[in-house]
């Protein structure tokens, strides 16, 4: 059978017509797939933030006992606080002071807390129930009481209203982070303690209050409810000081050299490839470098923010170099040519004309690099910054942890139902810091961005 040309055309058109709807369907599917991918990304961001916020925000408030504590002279039976006498040496005075403080440390402060709780409960507590009673208060509170007294010994015999942190178990119970129908053996609090918690809540002695301990205290192992971020925060701050004071000058100057001065030869090519690769080296390799060179060879102290800062400096250096080079490259050559044309030297051209114009970009890149360093955990684990440190570090050479490492340590704590919230709160603090650094960088870029 033979078809005319006209028929063939007709036939072809029909095929196209038929396939067209199929092709359009495919087009729509493809398009929808893309949209789904974008929405997936957005949803993941939303889930991530929602889960962390919903867990972490409640941890900023903590179950607190508002009670009256009497500094009972019968319990606090010690000599008056020594005062410096005429002609006494500093040493002798310190000696007496230490003795007095030791004496004050031996006072049974816990019994004062017991008494104040008994009063709040309105009942006598039998000695065998003291354990249940003491389970209500964070164990660090007796030291807080002691410190309060040694600061101000005139409190002797006075009755003061105090805010005491309830123990972690109470906090978990009050917030409902534990299934209340579990059998007694698996609940953290005894039935008696739980009954008391209810009484105290009814009398409004036990209520939620903003957790200053999260920010003011250091990590604690004995008194879990008062574990805080102060030590980790200072550690991170010291590290960031080291990182900023080393990586920004070094990174910016080597970028200036490579971009503006270096002759184009094999060596500079090598440096360039090297920097690009260094930027993609896994962070843990930098930790190995730190462990082997700074700790093993140079014998710098373990767990010190100085070493952490050095490791993070090496890690952020490539980021800053690459950002600075990009920023320098975006300055049009006409600026350089104009400066050189009226007789400026190359150094003058760079430092008087190019650098000021590139400064916003350099600043943005540096801030982003520092923010990245702030959130880095893995290399710090290898140089011992995951050690338990109970003091706020006073210098970059002291033992310390860092914010992300503290998160790592807290997420591994056995008291899961308390520390999951605590960890999320720490993550909120860390993310808050990082996002504000990022926001600062974006703001700087927006404000000073020049289109040539």
């Amino acid at each position: 059978m033979s078809l005319t040309i006209e028929q063939r055309r007709q036939h072809r058109l029909e095929t196209i017509e038929k396939s067209l709807s199929k092709r359009h369907r495919k087009e729509n599917t493809f398009r929808r797939l893309g949209l789904v991918a974008v929405l997936t990304g957005l949803t993941l961001v939303a889930i991530l933030f929602a889960s962390i916020l919903s867990k972490g925000v409640p941890a900023f408030w903590q179950a607190t006992l508002y009670t009256e504590v009497t500094f009972d002279p019968d319990v606090i039976d010690i000599a008056p606080k020594p005062e410096r006498q005429e002609g006494e040496t500093q040493y002798a005075y310190d000696e007496r002071m230490t003795q007095w403080l030791t004496q004050a440390g031996l006072v049974n402060w816990q019994s004062l807390i017991d008494a104040s709780l008994e009063q709040a409960l309105g009942e006598e507590v039998e000695p065998r129930q003291l354990r249940d009673l003491r389970a209500l208060v964070a164990s660090g509170e007796r030291y807080a009481l002691r410190d309060r007294f040694t600061e101000d010994p005139s409190l002797l015999g006075e009755t003061v209203s105090l805010k005491m942190l309830a123990s972690a178990d109470v906090d978990v119970w009050v917030k409902g982070n534990i299934d209340r129908d579990l059998p007694d053996a698996r609940l953290q609090l005894s039935p008696q303690s739980r009954a008391w918690v209810d009484v105290l809540q009814e009398q409004d002695v036990l209520r939620q209050s903003f957790s200053t301990s999260l920010f003011m205290n250091t990590d604690s192992r004995s008194s879990l409810a008062s574990a805080g971020l102060a030590g980790a925060f200072m550690g991170s701050l010291f590290m960031m000081m080291v990182v900023i004071s080393l990586s920004v000058p070094l990174g910016v100057s080597s970028a200036i050299y490579l971009e503006e001065f270096a002759p184009k030869n094999r060596l500079t090519d090598l440096i360039e490839i090297n920097i690009n690769n260094l930027a993609a080296v896994p962070s843990i390799v930098f930790g190995l470098l730190g462990a082997s060179i700074f700790i093993g060879y140079l014998r710098l102290p373990l767990s010190a923010p100085l070493v952490g800062g050095l490791v993070l400096t090496l890690m952020t250096l490539p980021t800053i170099i690459i950002a600075t080079r990009a920023s320098l490259r975006s300055i049009p050559p006409s600026i350089r040519q104009a400066a050189l044309g009226i007789g400026a030297s190359r150094v003058q051209t760079v430092f008087h004309h190019v650098l000021p114009l590139a400064l916003p970009g350099i600043l943005t890149g540096s801030i982003l690099g520092v923010a990245q360093a702030l959130g880095e955990t893995a290399p710090l684990l290898l140089i011992g910054m995951n050690a338990f440190v109970a003091n706020v570090p006073g210098s970059p050479m002291d033992q310390s942890t860092a914010l992300p490492v503290q998160i790592y340590l807290w997420q591994g704590n056995e008291l899961r139902n308390f520390f999951e919230a605590r960890t999320s709160a720490a993550i909120i603090v860390l993310l808050g810091l990082m996002l504000s650094l990022n926001a600062l960088a974006i703001w700087l870029r927006k404000k000073f961005e020049t289109r040539w």
Partner: protein
């Protein structure tokens, strides 16, 4: 005088030198009524540099060498009966005790008479050394200042010299990047070689059992250090991560660059890129508290037992982490495909998706593959997510819902808490690190070459 005060004094002296050089050059210029070669500031800077730099160099060398010299001198003076039979470790302890006694911190128990004698010797030497250092620095600084100030004349090319110093300093700081790489390679090679003196490389690279035991358990050669279970775990987690990240990331990039309205693009792009800025420890926590329980619940629904920490949990979290990485790299590459290719395809009657699938993507393929390789190298080197969520179970198996262990996790496990690099148990971390470094380096180099070739193609 403490080092801090010393440096502060030097800086003040340099400020003074700058001022002297500045005034002197002005005076020279006005008295002889000639034009200076450089502006007065350069003379000031040069005088300050002459004053400060030599003293600073001496200071650095000195603080590096002097403590070692003093240690040697004190060790040489120690009575033989105190030193005899002491091992390396005990010798270090002894020196630490002596230096604690010497700088007045003291040690528990007060120290033996020999130690006290050595300590006072050390303290004397330290005082002497400190005075000598100050004297040398002072002489150098003042001499530099005076000589440089005297040399100021209209023909002295101060600017050129200052600029030479600046250029040198800039070049020196770009050497730091090189030194870092050299440091990484050397330190890891050195420690890895020490590890291979305990364990034969073939047993390490081709061993199928990972069971290092504890370093206290006995002498060397006891544990089994097979790399393969760890490598397998690493590859499994990374593969899962890429299976999550590549479809989502690539489709996001395509939609963003080809379909999305500028409005959606300006909002969605930064939000997705937030994912790139979140610290990995947060992803680890997210995996542990959200993804793991979710998978476990899904498993319960279907009736299989899925552990909370598994290759799947870690892989999904890691995949989420590298979505923005894949999407922004691919986005860059797709937008680089010339418009003429698209216009040609559209002009022939192709639909938009046909253009993308049959013209744009093939043209962009090398670049996109490069982006995938970079993403893979990032996934392989990622640590905190797997430490928290992979479950640390170094056994060869093919089930993604079982716990695995990776190279990075093992580095962390073997090295935390143990800083005495003597046993194969801790040294193996460096052999693992070297393996990791080589793998990621290889991936990066290939990726960079591929991406660069691709860029040149359309430039």
């Amino acid at each position: 005088m403490s080092n801090f005060a010393l440096i502060a004094t030097l800086l003040m002296l340099m400020a003074l030198a700058y001022h002297l050089g500045l005034t002197r050059s002005r005076a020279v210029a006005s008295s002889r009524d000639v034009r200076l070669h450089s502006r007065p500031g350069y003379y000031g800077t040069l005088v300050a540099l002459w004053c400060g730099l030599p003293a600073l160099v001496i200071f650095l060398l000195w603080s590096f060498l002097a403590p070692q010299l003093i240690d040697t001198l004190v060790t040489g003076q120690l009575p033989p009966e105190l030193v005899s039979g002491l091992g390396d470790r005990e010798m270090q302890t002894l020196m630490r005790r002596i230096s604690a006694l010497a700088d007045g911190r003291g040690v528990a128990g007060g120290g033996s008479p020999e130690e006290l004698a050595a300590a006072s010797h050390m303290a004397r030497l330290q005082t002497l050394e400190n005075i000598a250092l100050i004297a040398v620095m002072a002489v150098l600084a003042v001499a530099g200042l005076v000589l440089a100030r005297r040399r100021i004349s209209p023909t002295w090319r101060a600017r050129n010299q200052v600029e030479r110093v600046i250029t040198f300093a800039l070049a020196a700081s770009s050497a730091v990047a090189i030194l870092t790489t050299v440091g990484i390679v050397l330190s890891m090679l050195g420690e890895a070689l020490r590890f291979f003196s305990f364990i034969h490389p073939a047993d390490f690279f081709f061993g199928t059992v990972w069971n290092p035991r504890f370093s206290t358990a006995g002498s060397s050669g006891q544990g089994e250090f097979g790399l393969l279970p760890l490598l397998w775990g690493t590859l499994m987690v990374s593969a899962i991560a890429l299976l999550v990240a590549i479809p989502v990331g690539l489709m996001t990039a395509i939609y963003m660059s080809e379909y999305a309205s500028p409005w959606l693009r300006s909002i969605a792009k930064p939000i997705i890129e937030i994912l790139a800025g979140i610290p990995t420890i947060v992803y680890g926590f997210f995996a542990l508290t959200v993804i793991g329980p979710f998978l476990s619940m899904l498993g319960d629904l279907v009736g299989i037992n899925i552990r909370t920490t598994s290759a799947m949990t870690a892989g999904i979290a890691m995949g989420i982490m590298i979505i923005p990485f894949v999407s922004s790299l691919s986005d860059d590459i797709i937008t680089q495909v010339p418009k003429s290719l698209r216009d040609g395809a559209l002009g022939l009657g192709a639909t938009k998706s046909e253009t993308i699938r049959q013209v744009v993507l093939p043209a962009a393929l090398p670049g996109i593959v490069g982006a995938f390789l970079l993403a893979a190298s990032r996934a392989i080197g990622e640590t905190m997510i797997v430490v928290l969520a992979a479950g640390n179970n170094p056994v060869l198996h093919a089930n993604p819902f079982e716990a695995v262990s990776t190279i990075t996790v093992t580095i962390v496990n073997q090295l935390t808490g143990d800083m005495d690099f003597a046993s194969p148990q801790s040294l193996v971390a460096f052999a693992l690190g070297l393996t990791l470094f080589v793998i990621t380096l290889g991936l990066n180099v290939i990726a960079l070459v591929v991406v660069r070739k691709y860029r040149q193609q359309y430039e």
